[in-house]
């Protein structure tokens, strides 16, 4: 993807090797220092100095189950939200995109535009609009946490759309499904045996990035008074800074692993697109 070295245009403006490294190190430090500090803090044994594993072990100690109950509940909520949001993406967005791509190509620009909108709307504006909607959602479906996935389903549209569309563009979806149809496949079989295997990378990338977005979302959950990992972290950080630090690190690590997987999906396993 980024192999443009050969065709690069040299304007004589490129920074020197030393400057480039300096920039890289400064930028890396900006990101790394807070995280490293967080890591060091999570091992620190208080104001007296020294290091301890107590904060880490204490988190998983059954004796502490009670004080951390709401926290673990929030983690469970976040995972539930991630699962429901992924389901919304797969059940609503994917079939819509396939339908538009295959049968209504003229609507492609419209769909793309709609899917990009959420990235341009600040979360706070979204909440102002969502608050009255959710007062009705709560009346109809109850106030349980999973209903927040409707808002998240909108929030992840730009990312999920991009991930799926990139894959869709590289696969001759129409020809493949017509070939499968001519061989006797019904539409569900075409979807399951022909389209999904060839869109595997895009769909997985969309799912992972959805999980990453949901596990990082704070504003909407907080302003709609829902408890997910992020809001619980903020709450607990006022009473127990160590636990907040540890869980922040863990959730960051988890999101980082997800992003690594997405990156690998893009580079390996592309036997479908030589």
């Amino acid at each position: 993807m980024s192999r443009r070295v050969g065709s690069e245009v040299h304007l004589g403006l490129a920074p020197s090797r030393v400057t480039r490294w300096a920039i890289l190190i400064v930028v890396a430090a900006v990101f790394a220092i807070p995280l490293l500090s967080l890591l060091v803090f999570s091992f620190s044994a208080g104001l007296g100095g020294g290091y301890t594993l107590d904060h880490w072990t204490g988190l998983f100690d059954p004796e502490n189950a009670r004080p951390y109950r709401t926290l673990f509940q929030a983690i469970g909520n976040s995972f539930l939200l991630a699962v429901v949001t992924v389901a919304i993406v797969l059940v609503l967005l994917l079939p819509t995109m396939l339908l538009v791509h295959m049968s209504f190509p003229r609507l492609r620009r419209v769909l793309e535009f709609i899917c990009i909108i959420p990235i341009t709307v600040p979360a706070i504006v979204l909440v102002v609009g969502l608050a009255p909607v959710y007062s009705i959602v709560v009346q109809v479906l109850g106030g349980s946490i999973w209903t927040l996935a409707f808002a998240y389903g909108i929030l992840v549209l730009p990312y999920a759309y991009r991930a799926i569309q990139a894959n869709l563009d590289g696969v001759p979806v129409v020809t493949l499904s017509e070939a499968a149809r001519s061989l006797g496949a019904s539409w569900p079989v075409v979807l399951w045996r022909v389209l999904l295997p060839n869109l595997r990378r895009g769909v997985l990338a969309a799912a992972f990035i959805t999980v990453a977005v949901v596990l990082g979302e704070f504003t909407i959950a907080s302003l709609l008074n829902r408890r997910n990992l992020q809001t619980a972290l903020l709450q607990i950080s006022t009473s127990d800074g160590y636990v907040a630090a540890i869980l922040s690190l863990l959730s960051l690590a988890f999101a980082f692993v997800l992003l690594l997987i997405i990156g690998r999906l893009g580079s390996v396993g592309n036997r479908s697109t030589p």
Binding site: P172, L176, E178, A179, S182, L183, R271
Partner: protein, 353 residues
């Protein structure tokens, strides 16, 4: 020889089929009948509706009128997957996530054929197209020609009633194209499967088909054997599209054309008298370089060597350009003055003005 892919050939009838795309009438009531085991080519320029006709037969386009029958049963209401057809597409259409063998097995899997039998039949189909050794490869490891051969095996393995070929050769190199079209014809003859072949390449259509239907603007202009189309084109369009033709200005009087000092009988439907353009084949023009030859004087414009023959463009004194086909022994050079005569074979013509 009994072949494992033996197929019960079907008749195919398209009857007054109409297909409308918005304001554009892609199929304007076309009727076509294929006898069991017959190989028919649909030939025409791009946008003439030939692919739409094939896709209508496949069920990939819903028709707006008329009926489509396979073996006498109206299939107009049936979805593609219930029509029992085999189809090869213009674009490479092998499933990229499956091996060659799995691709060929796909249709059998859809028909719930047991795994062991599936494997045997798929292997036989691959052997038939000469790719028995490539079963474990993936599509991207094959050349374009090989991919289309696998697609042919995949289309035939289910023993469909009809084989539909939608310009399967147009993405291939010239040499591979000729080899593959001969292989397609050989396999088709061997299996005796009713086949509809869509192409814009008149040479290809004439070379492989039992009958050729020439299409224009959603209608069939003429249907006949390759020889009939070539020798007795029913319309000027067919004369122009099938093979090469010279347009020679002349006058039509009572069914006889007088052009360039020669009289020609008129082919096709009678036309009113008046000035016409006569369509004369390059091989119906005689070129002579000897000084004693008679005929019209003409100046050589260009001459090209085509292997077994030579084609020379000459300009008559009145400015008409003519293409002449002759033996390679004659080698006229540009600027030479030669003599031209017509054999006087019947021609088709179109009114001028």
């Amino acid at each position: 020889m009994s072949t494992p892919l033996a197929i019960a050939p079907a008749t195919v009838e398209l009857d007054a089929v109409v297909k409308q795309f918005g304001a554009h009438r892609a199929l304007d009531g076309i009727s076509l009948q294929l006898e069991p085991g017959e190989f028919v080519a649909l030939l025409g320029p791009s946008g003439c509706g030939k692919t739409t006709a094939l896709r209508a037969l496949a069920g990939l386009e819903a028709v707006d009128g008329g009926s489509i029958r396979i073996d006498g049963n109206d299939v107009s209401g049936l979805p593609t997957n219930k029509r029992d057809i085999g189809m090869v597409f213009q674009a490479y259409s092998l499933f990229p996530h499956l091996t060659v063998l799995e691709n060929v097995e796909f249709g059998l899997r859809m028909r719930k054929v047991a795994a062991a039998e599936r494997r045997v039949r798929a292997q036989e189909a691959l052997d038939l197209v000469g790719l028995g050794e490539r079963g474990e490869r993936f599509a991207h490891q094959l050349s374009g020609g090989q991919q289309q051969r696998v697609a042919l095996a995949r289309a035939l393995v289910t023993r469909p009633r009809v084989l539909l070929l939608d310009e399967p050769l147009s993405a291939l190199d010239a040499k591979v194209r000729v080899q593959l079209r001969e292989q397609i014809r050989r396999i088709q003859t061997e299996l005796g499967i009713t086949t509809l072949f869509v192409t814009h390449d008149q040479e290809e259509a004439l070379a492989v088909a039992d009958r050729v239907a020439v299409m224009r603007e959603g209608r069939i202009e003429q249907i006949g054997t390759p020889e009939e189309l070539y020798v007795t084109p029913a319309t000027p369009f067919v004369a122009d599209f099938v093979g090469l033709s010279n347009r020679v200005p002349g006058t039509l009087t009572a069914g006889t054309i007088t052009a360039a000092g020669t009289t020609f009988a008129l082919l096709g439907a009678p036309q009113p008298d008046g000035p016409v353009l006569a369509y004369v084949r390059p091989e119906d023009v005689v070129l002579a370089t000897t000084e004693t030859a008679t005929g019209l004087a003409a100046t050589v414009v260009a001459s090209s060597f085509l292997g077994s023959l030579r084609r020379t463009s000459v300009r008559l004194d009145d400015g008409t350009l003519l293409s002449v086909q002759h033996e390679v022994a004659l080698q006229p050079a540009p600027g030479d003055v030669v003599r031209i005569a017509f054999r006087g074979t019947p021609v088709s013509a179109t009114p001028v003005g």
